[in-house]
């Protein structure tokens, strides 16, 4: 199978370029894209990419495969490449490239940091733990599962154009995860931080985030919830 990989080493290359590899695929097996990347690395050890758990939990190997963001470790080649077709792997779009498929995620983490991704509760903690009813806990389903792989935010045009001002789908999903938490007491402050014209409202409902999320989460829906919360607390 033909595999084309985005190559860029800022120390030696003037510009990024695509490099083609011929990978011999084992018969009768559907490899994951990450397996193919390892076969390429066996042939050419200079190819760089991130990976860790290889089972869609750590979120390290988010890449762009034939134009679609996803985790290489849980994306079967058959899902991406038509028989006889070519596999094209690029880094996640919109972030600075450190080398080859490795991107600098600083701006993505900055947006995550902005939403204060931790419980805020200044009341005296009980002796054991802060309890939640099963119903209250249920509200966090579909929110807490985010693994911060950045597939969604780097698929979002609003994030491409304003990565410094728009929180992005991943950060907003997390923002709602804390807004919806019954144990958090900083709801008003959290909402006040989100009311500017960029942080939430730059979302145009394109829904690329929903289309690419490897965990099947729905940031657009969470953003809608945040908007409704802002509306219901506004005068």
């Amino acid at each position: 199978m033909k595999v084309s990989i985005y190559r860029y080493n800022p120390e030696t290359d003037k510009k990024p370029y695509m490099q083609d590899y011929d990978v011999v695929m084992p018969e009768g097996k559907d490899l994951m894209v990450l397996d193919v990347m390892h076969l390429v690395k066996e042939a050419d050890t200079t190819v760089s990419f991130r990976r860790s758990c290889r089972e869609g939990v750590c979120g390290s190997d988010g890449v762009n495969m034939n134009g679609i963001n996803g985790l290489a470790c849980i994306t079967p080649v058959s899902e991406i490449v038509k028989p006889g077709g070519k596999l094209v792997i690029r880094p996640l779009p919109g972030l600075p490239v450190v080398r080859d498929l490795v991107v600098d995620m600083s701006v993505f983490y900055k947006q995550y940091e902005k939403i204060k991704p931790y419980l805020i509760n200044d009341s005296l903690p009980p002796a054991t733990e802060r309890l939640q009813s099963p119903e209250e806990r249920e509200k966090l389903d579909g929110l807490y599962e985010c693994i911060l792989c950045a597939c969604c935010s780097t698929a979002c045009p609003s994030f491409w154009w304003n990565p410094d001002k728009f929180i992005g789908p991943s950060g907003l999903l997390q923002a709602y995860r804390f807004l919806a938490d019954s144990r958090d007491t900083a709801q008003a402050e959290r909402l006040a931080d989100l009311d500017d014209p960029f942080s939430v409202f730059r979302c145009r409902g394109i829904m690329n985030c929903v289309a690419v999320c490897p965990k099947g989460l729905n940031p657009t829906k969470a953003i809608g919830h945040i908007r409704n919360m802002l509306l219901s607390t506004a005068t």
Binding site: K114, K116, D195, D196, P197, F198, V200, F201, R227
Partner: protein, 117 residues
């Protein structure tokens, strides 16, 4: 951390108010479009004097003015968003927004003059 996003050229300072302006004005624009379409469908042979008499009615004038105000709000919020997405150099963006602002102002003045002039 917690860097606040400051914006001085958007419509109402808050993202929520801009969003509301966009939605509410869209409803007015849709209503006026349907209203006008129904007028044209019901009066296929509309003459100038009929047209003039139609716009002599006070509530039609007010509805028209409200619609042009909605155009102003809707277009400003929308084009401000487009400009802050795609026009990165601040000088060019300000120039573009000035052109938009002047155009919308001219729309408003022209309409008011046509209705009450």
């Amino acid at each position: 951390m917690g860097m606040m996003v400051r914006s001085v050229t958007n419509w109402g300072r808050s993202g929520l108010s801009d969003w509301l302006v966009q939605r509410m004005s869209a409803v007015v624009l849709a209503a006026y479009t349907l209203f006008m379409a129904s007028i044209f469908v019901q009066n296929p042979d509309l003459t100038f004097s009929e047209w003039q008499a139609f716009f002599d009615v006070t509530w039609v004038k007010l509805f028209t003015l409200l619609t042009v105000l909605s155009v102003v709000g809707h277009a400003w919020v929308g084009l401000w968003t487009v400009a802050t997405d795609y026009i990165k150099p601040a000088i060019i963006r300000f120039f573009f927004l000035i052109v938009v602002g002047v155009t919308l102002f001219v729309y408003l003045v022209t309409t008011a003059t046509a209705l009450w002039g």
